[in-house]
């Protein structure tokens, strides 16, 4: 059962928001703010010409958050310019991922979105060169603990996050979309080869439409932190609605899911966008996606977990199982990330050996 929270109603049917009562607005704003979707709601209403029909108080909150998201989008442009300038000298082709990709390629999920870092993917062989170049341009490593360094460099799919010493912005440099130690190995070379230049740039690429959706799906359904889960689901919903106008999109989505071993994340992405956000997905696609369906028992359990954990971390969107669902999905994500023995070793190290941060 998908819960009937206001935030879900709002995302499904923004037009109905104009008849919301003030107490409902009060609650919706709190849920949306917690889910980082307040500015998104503002944009949805504005695009429909309904923003001015919202009562004054809640409208103010919507507009306040839009100011923040506009600033974020501007900051992403500036940061990408800085990254391009830095990496131009290294001669490494840069592919932008997730939020930065949506902004630079002017895709609809960028509207009203908030950003915490910039993600890029580069060839594994270029990692050292990219890291050195970024360091020369003011980005510094953030995880200084020897174990963390090893964790990232030996087992993960990215360098330890790097932070710019002046602007305090963070860049994640990836060489793959899943850790080296994960059971699934989506081929990074295939992903980068299919990447497309962004209009107006000759040095900046984003993943091809199907790959972008698949990456979004992997990111969400393999993530150990789901506090941004609903926002990530909204990203996927928005990409699907946008790309569905491309004639080759749906067929290529299933082809690429097989090629990249990502049929399971795609199944979940379609299942939960359709169930939670009423995303229009062609019935043929739903049928094809069944190849990624887990066994019935697993599915019953994952439904229970995701339908709770994808909701905003707000007391009005929780039941007695929500906390447990989040914890179990954390364990699941770590499980998918590493083989069992390595996982045991990692958790042991984190629990007993790593210095504790306050």
């Amino acid at each position: 059962m998908i819960p009937d929270y206001l935030i879900i109603q709002a995302l499904r049917e923004p037009d109905a928001l104009v008849s919301l009562s003030l107490p409902d607005w009060d609650l919706l704003i709190r849920q949306a703010r917690r889910a980082n979707l307040l500015a998104r709601i503002c944009i949805l209403l504005d695009e429909r010409g309904l923003l001015e029909q919202v009562p004054q108080k809640p409208r103010e909150h919507l507009k306040w958050s839009r100011v923040i998201s506009e600033k974020h989008v501007q900051a992403v442009h500036w940061e990408v310019t800085q990254i391009r300038q830095a990496l131009a000298k290294a001669g490494v082709p840069v592919v932008l991922l997730k939020g930065a990709a949506y902004v630079m390629a002017k895709l609809p999920p960028a509207k009203g979105r908030l950003f915490s870092d910039i993600d890029i993917i580069v060839p594994k062989a270029s990692l050292n060169a990219v890291e050195a170049t970024l360091m020369l341009h003011g980005w510094a490593a953030t995880h200084h603990d020897a174990y963390d360094q090893r964790y990232y460099r030996t087992w993960m799919h990215e360098l330890p996050p790097m932070q710019h010493i002046k602007r305090m912005t963070v860049i994640d440099v990836h060489h793959a979309i899943l850790p080296e130690t994960a059971a699934l190995h989506p081929d990074s070379v295939k992903l980068r080869t299919a990447a497309q230049l962004i209009e107006g740039y000759d040095d900046l690429k984003v993943f091809a439409p199907a790959d972008m959706v698949l990456h979004s799906a992997v990111h969400l359904f393999h993530n150990d932190q789901l506090d941004q889960g609903l926002r990530d689901l909204v990203d996927i919903d928005s990409l699907l609605r946008h790309f569905s106008s491309l004639p080759a999109f749906w067929p290529s989505l299933s082809v690429r899911a097989h090629e990249l071993e990502l049929t399971r994340p795609l199944f979940y992405a379609l299942r939960y966008t359709v169930n939670i956000l009423n995303t229009p997905v062609p019935s043929d696609m739903i049928k094809v996606a069944q190849s990624g369906r887990p066994n019935p028992l697993t599915l019953i359990i994952t439904d229970q977990l995701f339908e709770r954990a994808l909701m905003p971390v707000h007391k009005s969107c929780s039941d007695w199982l929500t906390g447990a669902a989040r914890q179990m999905l954390y364990i699941r994500a770590t499980w998918l990330r590493m083989p069992r023995l390595l996982l045991a070793r990692h958790l042991f190290h984190k629990a007993f050996i790593s210095p504790k941060s306050e």
């Binding site: 507009k63 306040w64 600033k71």
Partner: protein, 306 residues
């Protein structure tokens, strides 16, 4: 209905159960707490503030609680939550009321974006406002407290809200925060001023809050034109001196003291430019409050803002 309409025990009960919907300036805060010290200070300093008639919308939902762990008995603490999320690290229980004040400032400075928010005190007389931006330690609040006890209306002690669009100052009169020696100085300066209990050993030293006058609270919806931007600086033994400040300098220094200047982008620049253009800008050094009152009393707005 104002907070003063509730008896102390009614207030305590409401704060503990459903919370109160407190109107400060143009914002409504839903406040819940079961900490008795907070309820007493709210009753004292917010007596003249209206309670929202219909509790159907609040800008901010905040609560002050005691963490549910061993610290309940051993060196008890207070926790400020914004809609269920703890924003700051817990503080000793004794600091719960100052923490509420800091928390309410955080609510405004982190969300409100239809105004340029400047870390400044604002007082008004004769329809014109003085903006007193200053980094901590410059004696801004002391001067502000003295002025509001000598006929100036309090618009704000910490957060000046300059409306994007028309540059008008939106009042947010809340208790004036005084630190260390300033507390006794103002007590002596105006014995009738009402203070919350002094709290020692906070991050900012000893703090106490002074009640805003009921007149400034009652007139919280009257927006005002800013006519002067004055950077106060307390300097022991100095003679009071008002020194003209070039507008470009004033612009940059107000921007340094702003919470959301860069967030607002072009609107931030335009609002700041309008504010500085419409104001006479000064550096002000002083050591005696009476001198300051006299000099401020003699201020006349520039012809264009009349």
């Amino acid at each position: 209905m104002n907070v003063s309409a509730l008896t102390p025990s009614e207030l305590k009960f409401r704060l503990k159960k459903s919370g109160i919907f407190l109107r400060t300036g143009s914002f409504i805060t839903h406040l819940q707490t079961s900490i008795p010290g907070v309820s007493e200070s709210v009753g004292l300093l917010y007596a003249d503030y209206p309670l929202a008639e219909q509790a159907d919308f609040a800008d901010f939902h905040v609560s002050l609680t005691r963490p549910r762990n061993l610290r309940r008995w051993f060196k008890p603490q207070a926790l400020f939550s914004f809609d269920g999320n703890t924003i700051f690290k817990p503080l000793p229980l004794d600091q719960a009321f100052p923490m509420l004040e800091w928390g309410l400032n955080w609510c405004v400075s982190n969300h409100v974006n239809h105004c340029l928010i400047v870390h400044a005190a604002v007082v008004e007389k004769g329809g014109y406002a003085v903006l007193l931006p200053a980094p901590p330690g410059s004696g801004k609040s002391t001067l502000c407290a003295a002025l509001v006890n000598r006929g100036w209306r309090l618009l704000s002690d910490e957060l000046a809200l300059v409306r994007v669009g028309d540059g008008k100052l939106i009042p947010l009169p809340r208790p004036v925060s005084l630190k260390n020696e300033s507390i006794e100085i103002i007590r002596r300066y105006e014995p009738s001023a009402i203070f919350s209990r002094k709290v020692d050993d906070t991050l900012k030293g000893t703090v106490a809050h002074m009640k805003a006058s009921s007149d400034s609270v009652a007139r919280a919806s009257e927006v005002v034109q800013v006519a002067w931007v004055i950077f106060p600086k307390y300097q022991a033994g100095s003679t009071a001196c008002l020194e003209t400040l070039p507008q470009a300098h004033a612009f940059m220094r107000v921007a340094d003291n702003s919470f959301n200047y860069s967030l607002l982008g072009l609107n931030g620049f335009r609002t700041m430019a309008r504010l500085i253009d419409g104001s006479l800008c000064y550096d002000f050094t002083y050591s005696k409050l009476d001198d300051a009152i006299e000099i401020f009393g003699a201020l006349t707005p520039q012809a264009s803002s009349k």
